[in-house]
Symmetry: C2
Subunit: 305 residues, 2 copies
């Protein structure tokens, strides 16, 4: 058995950091990730550089990464028409889009209620799909919202239906506020699979309450084979109180390997990315396996697994 | 449905900290824990105060806590005859004992090979049981050892058999190095339950690789209803490289409540213990829910669950 991990740290991770990473530093991260076996990579987002200066060099990074690693599946986050133009201009073949099903979160994140944001997004999906781009459409707060509480599965299914109808070939369900529970993940995944069997479904899980890995296993058991991760557990939506990052890539790799599920990723090599991030950010990140690897007598992290 | 959480932070947590907690501070922790609904509490260990000065005030703490909270189930860790004498002298009715099934870990931890440590322990269990004490016997490294790798289930079952034969009425399986996987937890728990149906079985899970909560759910599914936890995720064996602490009490409470399983513990009150530890230790602890509670708009931590 096998899963694919899409590395998000350069986008979801670095957008949450106050330190601005240079193009050289980001390119070094890409190289280390590719060395470790990462095959899918979200490189940045095409948003207003005045609002999110951390992502200002996304266009050039995409161009350089595509040139150096032609086989890497590169993607970037697009939230509006201007962003779509930029993504096309730097040659991206795949993009991610995303809206929240929670009104409160949507207003805080993009200044629009959820229905309006979804309407704009489906229009944009149509344009992108017509232009031949692969579009992955994401549903934020799919498992609950820290402001609104429970989110109805029907609301998620309705958003997914509109996104698929508009041309999205892939759907990503995001637990933006880290509120999902395993049974809930299984239930929603089953319903999306049933309603849209042709769609590639992936999960984007935050570890806010320590349940990220558990929810990942629940998603795997429900048939999901593509998961977003971020090296070191970087990330966290700036408008989610108490948010912590994505499931740490290295912890996901360790967990899947421990259960005999291949990822194609070398754990020790992946931890060199975490080392690099920790050096530049001057702090220890929340992922566990880098610390374990450094402390282990053998240093290979798989002893006894 | 209901589980019982035994709070270990005063023992497994504070023995790993360089800061020495005063009697007054420890007693304040006890009060906050009792306020939160904790009913079982490991207060300290009766070991050589020159080796483990953090535990030097365990005797007096036990006496004071028993006097102030006569209904609290107090326990302490005993590793030798002298410790047993001290536990009896301060009036403990329940004690915990523990040996490792890994030779390498046992030699590092207590300076003896596993078989020798088990022999001494069973002798001590016999003395304690004959004296009318409730004895919980623990198996360290029951799910693997960072030095030796995999640990055979048979080795664990054999140790448990000897402990039960010697008079232990309760058995604790410890994932000392955080190497357990959910299926492994289910398998070993099932075998111990089958072989010793009359024994109260509990789990002591470390979160070294981020799988602590997941393994706790696996244990619950296999029928375990008693789990060790430590507020803030404190803890970590000093002779396990890269060790991190127990499953954080507050994260376990949040998880069980989210699945409709009662703990009898008030999450917000429990987090006041974490606040207190963080103030005294002057750092943020690894447990997630205290941070979530402080950040949440409602502050009750159960919004939307």
């Amino acid at each position: 058995m096998r899963v694919v991990l899409e590395e998000e740290s350069l986008r979801d991770g670095l957008q949450a950091e106050s330190r601005l990473f240079s193009l050289t530093e980001k390119l070094q991260v890409v190289r280390l990730l590719v060395d470790a076996g990462i095959k899918r990579l979200q490189l940045g987002s095409f948003v207003n550089p005045r609002s999110v200066p951390q992502m200002a060099n996304s266009d050039v990074l995409v161009s350089l990464a595509r040139k150096e690693f032609p086989d890497l599946l590169c993607t970037g986050l697009v939230l509006n028409e201007k962003g779509l133009e930029r993504a096309v201009r730097c040659g991206l073949g795949h993009i991610s889009m995303s809206v929240s099903v929670s009104d409160s979160h949507s207003r805080r994140n993009v200044g629009q209620p959820a229905a309006k944001a979804l309407e704009l997004m489906t229009g944009l999906i149509g344009v992108a799909a017509a232009a031949g781009l692969g579009v992955r459409a994401g549903v934020q707060c799919a498992f609950g919202c820290v402001y609104e509480g429970a989110v109805a599965e029907e609301a998620v299914l309705e958003a997914v239906a509109q996104m698929v109808a508009a041309g999205a070939g892939a759907i990503n369900l995001a637990d933006t506020t880290g509120m999902a529970y395993p049974l809930q993940v299984k239930s929603l995944v089953a319903r999306v699979h049933e309603a849209f069997p042709e769609v590639e479904l992936s999960l984007h899980l935050h570890d806010t309450r320590g349940l990220g890995l558990m929810n990942m296993v629940a998603g795997f058991e429900a048939g999901v084979r593509l998961f977003d991760v971020a090296a070191g557990g970087l990330g966290g939506c700036p408008c989610v109180p108490g948010a912590v990052g994505n499931v740490a890539s290295e912890d996901a790799v360790n967990m899947f390997h421990g259960m005999g599920i291949e990822t194609g990723i070398d754990l020790a090599a992946l931890c060199r990315v975490v080392d690099y991030y920790e050096t530049l950010l001057e702090r220890k990140l929340s992922g566990r396996m880098n610390r374990v690897l450094h402390a282990l007598p053998t240093g290979n992290g798989r002893l006894g697994i």
